[in-house]
Amino acid sequence: MTTSAFLIIPVALKPAANAVGLAMGWGPNNFDGVALSNDGGATVTHWACRTDVDQVFLDLLANPPAIDGVETVTAALDVNLSETLWGIDHATAVMADKGLVRVDHAG
């Protein structure tokens, strides 16, 4: 069974988090999708990735492989899982819970 994951990383660690994701075979720029702010403004303080994960992923997080920077990333990674909420509903709930807003301009 897959689980919805909303993964949040502080802005300073986004390059490292992307590098770890690439090394794990998930593709580049996993954390380039969702810019977040903790002050309600235009300043990006965090980046996030929303994806479906399975037990393999969760096991990897618990016991990460020996990749440069992985310990720093996993220590800072805010992992939010849900088996009842998905997609935007999950992301919205997590953002509301943590006082984060999406930095997203339409004009």
């Binding site: 897959t2 309600g40 403004g41 929303r50 004009g107």
Partner: protein, 611 residues
């Protein structure tokens, strides 16, 4: 077969889709049709056809050009003319062995074969080849920009086989290389049937696993609200007990009405007849009225009275010794499908034990049970004798499929979703512009649009204005594949949206109303809000005029979980879609601390599907 998942002859693919005929006049644009798997791939290189629900889409091939491949660009790719057209690089000696090109290191230096051919930057090409790595230690097969030599696509093949890759050329020439990864003298690899042909169109891709929208399938009419309807051991099926009751037990592999072994045994024991004694198998879903049904048969050789109701009240039924489909209508909204033993259930108690076979559960909005729909997951619903059609479900967070438009175009863009379809006209895109679906809208269309459309069945973007007949025909095509009709905006429900008076709106710090506008001065982040009757699940089209001199402003629904839309930091007249959730009762503008400007002409209109 060229491996695109569609039957072909002579390099021409079937072209029987009505929407594709829109482009028969040579119009630019794209047709992304998710209702069938044939144009879909799970990887972004077009090597792995998408075949199963709950799979991420890495590539959607554009059907607007009919998926007709261009002429062969590789010279002597089958090596029928020896090594003509191919040059050796490094230490390589080239020869033809059993009809294949053999690339051998003639010295202790890596060797390769190369050929350069003409391409058009930004154009997609379909590249196929056979490789046997043999003793090479891995054959590096790659294409590079013929001018800059920047790698476009590369793979080290250690397994013999045929490979298919789509790549986008970056220059007026492209160089193809086949290289031994080992520098040992004498090692070699073989390649054969190398082909590169243009695949015209604006193909949507996504290389990142996390950003691929999932593909699913369902009949046009999706009725069964349950999940995992063939697996009562799945986590969505709760085993609940109360009082003296025991956890219900489910076991698979029993003979079903069709003679298969897909029925399950349910054993439930309430432990007593007290008010709170029960043992129930339950699945929860969004509360609704409607029919609940299940096939049931006594497993004891004698009729049994079984509890079948929700929530923990009402309907006892008799499970006979033959398979029977039983149903009841939940006239009062309920969020449960319950079956088991509950002797003291209001409206009809059961025996203290239940030992029955169950099969094909269904909960649906209508009051009468309809034919069963099998639901493996929210991405996979099927119904006997009824076709299922595909859709993608972007997560509206970071899922995106993108293409770079090869040519400029201005014209209609229509998106067909299972909750509604949407049309915008005179959408202009420059050559080289990125066109995307996701995360929250389609490029050039109203912000937040995807919230209103639901699962996406298809997209048409064309460089001209479609006629009414063409629009009707295209909508009809996608409706036959699960899409709903055009969304229309209802009556505006914003009160005092023109700020004619200083009333209705609740003004946070720095907000004033006068001269027909609402004005915010910089200094404090604050809301301007008014109460609204917002129905959960309904999407609303928000429109307003913004004059801004500093900072940013956004819109949101408040009450319950706050639903925030995109923000704005430039003056203009804007439209955005927000979808309300339970508890939303307020519309608000929200600013940052430095915002200074005015808003006016606010309208809030519910979107509904036109009849």
């Amino acid at each position: 077969m060229l491996g695109l998942g569609i039957g072909i002859t002579s390099g021409v693919l079937r072209q029987s889709l009505t929407p594709a005929r829109l482009f028969a006049d040579g119009s630019n644009g794209l047709l992304w049709d998710f209702s069938t798997t044939s144009p879909l791939y799970s990887d972004n290189a077009g090597a792995t056809p998408l075949t199963a629900p709950d799979t991420g889409v890495g590539l959607v091939a554009d059907r607007s050009k009919g998926l007709v491949l261009g002429p062969e660009l590789v010279t002597n790719g089958d090596f029928s003319a020896g090594t003509t057209g191919w040059s050796a690089t490094g230490s390589a000696s080239l020869s033809v062995v059993s009809g294949a090109l053999r690339v051998t290191n003639s010295a202790a230096v890596t060797g390769g074969a190369t050929q350069t051919f003409n391409t058009v930057a930004g154009t997609t090409y379909r590249w196929t080849y056979y490789v046997d790595p043999a003793t090479s230690g891995g054959a590096v097969i790659r294409v590079r920009d013929g001018g800059t030599l920047a790698v476009i696509s590369t793979a080290t093949r250690t397994v013999a086989g045929s490979y298919t890759i789509l790549f986008v050329a970056t220059g007026s020439t492209t160089q193809l290389n086949c290289i031994n990864s080992s520098s040992t003298a004498g090692v070699y690899h073989d390649v054969d049937n190398i082909s590169v042909k243009e695949l015209p169109g604006n193909h949507g891709t996504q290389s990142n696993v996390s950003f691929k929208p999932k593909w699913g399938r369902a009949p046009v009419s999706r009725r069964n609200l349950l999940q995992q309807t063939a697996d009562f051991s799945a986590a969505v099926w709760s085993k609940i007990k109360g009082g003296l009751g025991a956890d219900p037990i489910v076991t698979s592999g029993f003979t079903d009405p069709d003679g298969g072994n897909t029925a399950w045994r349910l054993v439930a024991n309430s432990g007593g007849s007290g008010a709170s004694d029960y043992s129930v198998l339950r699945q929860s879903f969004t509360s609704t009225t409607g029919a609940r049904s299940v096939y049931i048969k006594s497993n004891t050789g004698a009729p049994q009275i079984i509890y079948f109701g929700a929530p923990l009240s009402g309907s006892a039924l008799i499970a006979t010794t033959t398979w029977t489909r039983v149903s009841y209508n939940a006239a009062t909204a309920s969020a449960f499908f319950d079956i088991g033993a509950f002797p003291n259930a209001a409206g009809g108690g059961s025996g203290t034990t239940a030992d029955v076979l169950i099969w094909h559960p269904q909960s649906e909005p209508g009051s009468t049970a309809t034919p069963y729909q099998a639901v493996t997951s929210t991405y996979d619903m099927t119904e006997a004798g009824v076709p299922s059609y595909g859709f993608i479900r972007p997560d509206r967070t970071d899922d995106v499929l993108s293409t770079v438009l090869t040519l400029a175009q201005t014209g209609d863009v229509a998106v067909f979703g299972r909750n509604g379809s949407w049309l915008e006209t005179a959408r202009a895109y420059t050559a080289g512009a990125t066109f995307s679906i996701g995360p929250t809208t389609v490029t050039g269309l109203t912000a937040g649009l995807l919230a209103a459309l639901g699962d996406i069945v298809g997209i048409v973007a064309i460089g001209r204005t479609l006629t009414a007949a063409e629009l009707a025909s295209t909508l009809s095509y996608f409706k036959a594949r699960g899409a709903a009709g055009w969304l229309v905006a209802g009556a505006g429900q914003a009160a005092n949206g023109d700020f004619a008076t200083d009333t209705i709106w609740t003004k946070g710090t720095g907000w004033t109303i006068g001269s027909g506008v609402a004005t915010k001065t910089a200094g404090v982040a604050a809301l301007l809000s008014e109460p609204q009757t917002l129905i959960a699940g309904v999407s609303y089209l928000i429109e307003f005029t913004l004059t801004r001199s500093a900072g940013q402003i956004g819109i949101r629904f408040e009450g319950g979980t706050t639903i925030s839309g995109s923000a704005y930091s430039a003056s203009g007249t804007y439209s955005q879609v927000l979808q309300a959730v339970i508890g939303n009762n307020t519309f608000a503008f929200s600013t940052d601390t430095v915002f200074a400007g005015t808003v006016d002409n606010v309208s809030i209109k519910p979107l509904t599907v036109a009849p």
